[in-house]
């Protein structure tokens, strides 16, 4: 059913149920918004999207108000313009206006809206509230004096992630977003996923900045600075420079990193392939123990490459910990290998090596600072930059990213396969593991078109796949006829559901479960360019799969550098050295 109306004298026909905001958008009228998150929530609180509807008693928030037959809407009337501007001016009156010292400068929704409206001075008296900075966690910085109370972070934390840390507190003018009676995030159950930072329109919640540290390392002639970049970066970094979502920029990224002065440019993808080897063999071992040897083992095995999920499991579901793979995340595999294997090969004293990783993720900043992550004898990862921070460094260095030639990552820990690429999105780790495990067990390729397990791709919250094993190699004959069932969930709200099932004993028929903290997986990580909505997620996912498909090597076990590291350094998957450098243990937290 469609509805006819006029907006600023233009007739428009849209489906019933469309918001005025989207109806206006469809005819090229852009109404500003702050609290609204398309497809997620519209609390109607900021009032910067007000429009005039003839016959209505008050102005209406276009982000919520739906079109009606014959409606006459004015976006560009004096009344509507003044009201929107007043809302923005009121917000500004209560805002520090410290743009030049703010990490959101030039990338701030409030700043943009104010500038679009031509606001150069707020007519109202200044009413700024000072709040102390919260620097208590490794991943995030919270500056509540900049908060405009749009509540997007609350939606992310309470409704999407269901971690329940951020909530509105007090009321009226004193309202503030916080983690309860505890002043600091570190004292709460925050899992550092950064989804709050990803949706914040202003500089109130941001990643803890590591840019200065990284510049210092680069500028220090005594340091050998090695960088590696997570799979999800290459599908998003371009957005920092105005490229459309879903632009693949792997080659430009490598060139940019070299130009920034990094001494070695590796690829976290290498460690992703390694993770598949370790995690895949761990799964096969658990299956062998369970099916052949009838031992009591924790199955299904859960993935462990996402630090947000690890924090979540340790905090909320300590009983799930035995089910988690003991593999570290790719970042924490790459780090110690650089400080051991690479150091040894290159003849560099590991104490002089600085490992910088570029991650889509704020939880990785937290992970790098975990006290146990020192298996190389040093801090395994020195600094973690988010995609956004790397973008800023590139800009600061005056690098014209969009026009860069392609480069290639350095040898030794820079080669990777398509299986590693797809780590970037939900379902990818599972697919990559299946590509290898299936082949190890049956000697044949995973029998799906283009190696994709279609049912676990995409943005559905909980996905699954099942297939029967047949024609197993002799050493795996005990798996003959077994139906493999796998489960994939992303977004911690869905993780809750899966963990509750695990606790209730309802996952017995599954062998392997993938959990990613961020909606869509790392392509939607807390450190990715803003604003990530489902359209952006889809574009990035498409880029990742096309990156995968463009490769000749698409299975982790085919990676020549992986073969080499096992031959020359690690021995075999789950071997002694792997165990020391690549695996870890978990502790319940409260």
């Amino acid at each position: 059913m469609t509805v006819n109306l006029t907006i600023d004298n233009q007739p428009v026909t849209v489906p019933k149920g469309t918001t005025i905001l989207n109806a206006a958008r469809s005819i090229g009228i852009k109404i500003p918004t702050l609290c609204h998150m398309e497809g997620v929530v519209s609390p109607g609180s900021c009032r910067v999207c007000l429009v005039e509807v003839e016959g209505a008693r008050t102005l209406l928030p276009s982000c919520i108000a739906q079109v009606g037959e014959g409606m006459i809407v004015h976006v560009n009337s004096k009344t509507a313009r003044t009201a929107r501007r007043t809302s923005v001016e009121l917000i500004l009156a209560n805002h520090p206006l410290d743009c030049n010292n703010c990490s959101r400068n030039n990338n701030c929704e409030l700043q943009t809206i104010a500038s679009d409206m031509g606001i150069t001075a707020s007519r109202f008296p200044r009413l700024v509230q000072e709040h102390p900075l919260d620097l208590s966690t490794s991943g995030l910085t919270r500056d509540m004096s900049k908060c405009i109370l749009c509540r997007r972070c609350v939606t992310a934390c309470q409704n999407i992630q269901q971690v329940g840390v951020l909530a509105a507190q007090k009321r009226g003018f004193a309202t503030i977003i916080g983690g309860g009676a505890k002043a600091n995030l570190a004292e709460t159950t925050c899992v550092q996923c950064g989804q709050c930072a990803a949706v914040c329109p202003v500089g109130a919640i941001t990643e803890k900045d590591a840019i200065a540290d990284v510049w210092a390392a680069l500028d220090d002639p005594k340091k050998h600075v090695v960088v590696h970049t997570a799979p999800a970066i290459r599908a998003a970094l371009g957005e920092c420079f105005g490229m459309p979502a879903g632009s693949r920029v792997t080659g430009k990224m490598v060139t940019a990193l070299r130009r920034l002065g990094f001494d070695k440019v590796f690829d976290t993808n290498f460690a992703a392939d390694l993770t598949i080897m370790e995690e895949g063999f761990e799964l096969i071992k658990r299956l062998t123990d369970a099916v052949r040897d009838k031992k009591a083992v924790a199955l299904p095995q859960f993935t462990s490459c996402c630090p947000g999920w690890i924090n979540f499991a340790e905090t909320f579901y300590p009983k799930s910990l035995p089910y988690l793979s003991s593999c570290k995340s790719p970042m924490q595999m790459e780090g110690p290998l650089i400080k051991t294997w690479y150091a040894q090969k290159a003849g560099i004293d590991p104490k002089d090596i600085v490992v910088v990783s570029v991650m889509p993720c704020t939880a990785k900043k937290h992970e790098a600072n975990r006290p146990e992550m020192v298996d190389s004898g040093f801090k395994d990862t020195d600094y973690v930059l988010t995609t956004r921070e790397l973008g800023k460094m590139v800009t600061a260095a005056g690098i014209d990213f969009v026009n860069l030639p392609d480069g290639r990552a350095d040898e030794l820990a820079g080669e990777s396969t398509g299986a590693a690429d797809i780590f970037a999105n939900s379902g990818g780790v599972m697919e990559a593991a299946l590509r290898t495990a299936y082949e190890v067990i049956t000697g044949r390729e995973l029998p799906f078109p283009s190696l994709h397990v279609a049912s676990i791709q995409g943005l559905d919250g909980i996905k699954e796949a099942a297939f029967k094993l047949d024609g197993c190699k002799p050493e795996f004959s005990f798996l003959e006829g077994v139906t493999v069932k796998v489960l994939v969930a992303h977004g911690l709200g869905n993780a809750h559901k899966v963990c509750k099932k695990l606790e209730a004993g309802d996952l017995a028929e599954y062998q392997f479960v993938e959990i990613m903290t961020c909606p869509g997986g790392c392509i939607g990580g807390g450190g990715q360019p803003r604003m990530t909505d489902d359209n952006v997620r889809r574009a990035r996912i498409a880029a990742i799969y096309s990156e995968d498909e463009s490769r000749t090597l698409r299975k982790s076990h085919e990676n020549p550098e992986i073969k080499r590291i096992y031959a020359e350094f690690l021995g075999e998957p789950l071997g002694h050295k792997s165990h020391h450098l690549l695996h870890t243990t978990y502790t319940p937290r409260q």
Binding site: Q169, G179, G180
Partner: protein
């Protein structure tokens, strides 16, 4: 709240009564405010530990419980004094001089609205209308309503409450 504190909480008669109440209501979000009312009636106030205890018992995030407690002015996180002075600031009382009455209490006790004297004798609060507008300005001390109070009567009133 740790397991240990949790258990000693259960030994406490107040916690027992609270537990019994919690057991009598459904374990759903809409039980939160009734449980907070009960807890405040029992303990006199809602300290953070108690909030966290309730959060766990009802499976509501502690930050949300705190958000609710700090939204509603009836809930307090400060222990109350032995006597609660509640000055009506409703319109009827206001136009008949309630502001001066509050100021007089405030000055005499050295505390602001919402505060408790250091000796825990008095807590000063304000409310808007307790239906005694005919007796405006009205002041309620504990359960007693005193009508037609004026600043001069304040000291004398306080004398009645030791």
């Amino acid at each position: 709240m740790s397991e240990k504190e949790h258990t000693c909480g259960c030994d406490n008669a107040l916690y027992q009564e609270l537990n019994a109440f919690i057991a009598s209501v459904p374990r759903t979000r809409d039980s939160l405010i009734p449980v907070l009312h009960k807890a405040q009636a029992l303990f006199g106030y809602l300290p953070v530990d108690l909030q966290e205890y309730i959060a766990k018992a009802l499976d509501v995030p502690a930050s949300e419980v705190y958000g609710v407690v700090t939204f509603y002015t009836y809930f307090t996180m400060q222990p109350r004094g032995r006597h609660t002075i509640n000055v009506c600031l409703g319109t009827a009382c206001y136009v008949r001089g309630a502001k001066q009455v509050v100021e007089a209490f405030s000055e005499l006790l050295g505390i602001k609205i919402g505060e408790t004297t250091p000796d825990r004798r008095f807590t000063l609060t304000a409310q808007r209308c307790f239906g005694a507008c005919g007796l405006a300005p009205a002041v309620m001390i504990n359960q007693d309503v005193h009508g037609r109070v004026n600043p001069k009567k304040v000291a004398e009133l306080l004398e009645q409450y030791k």
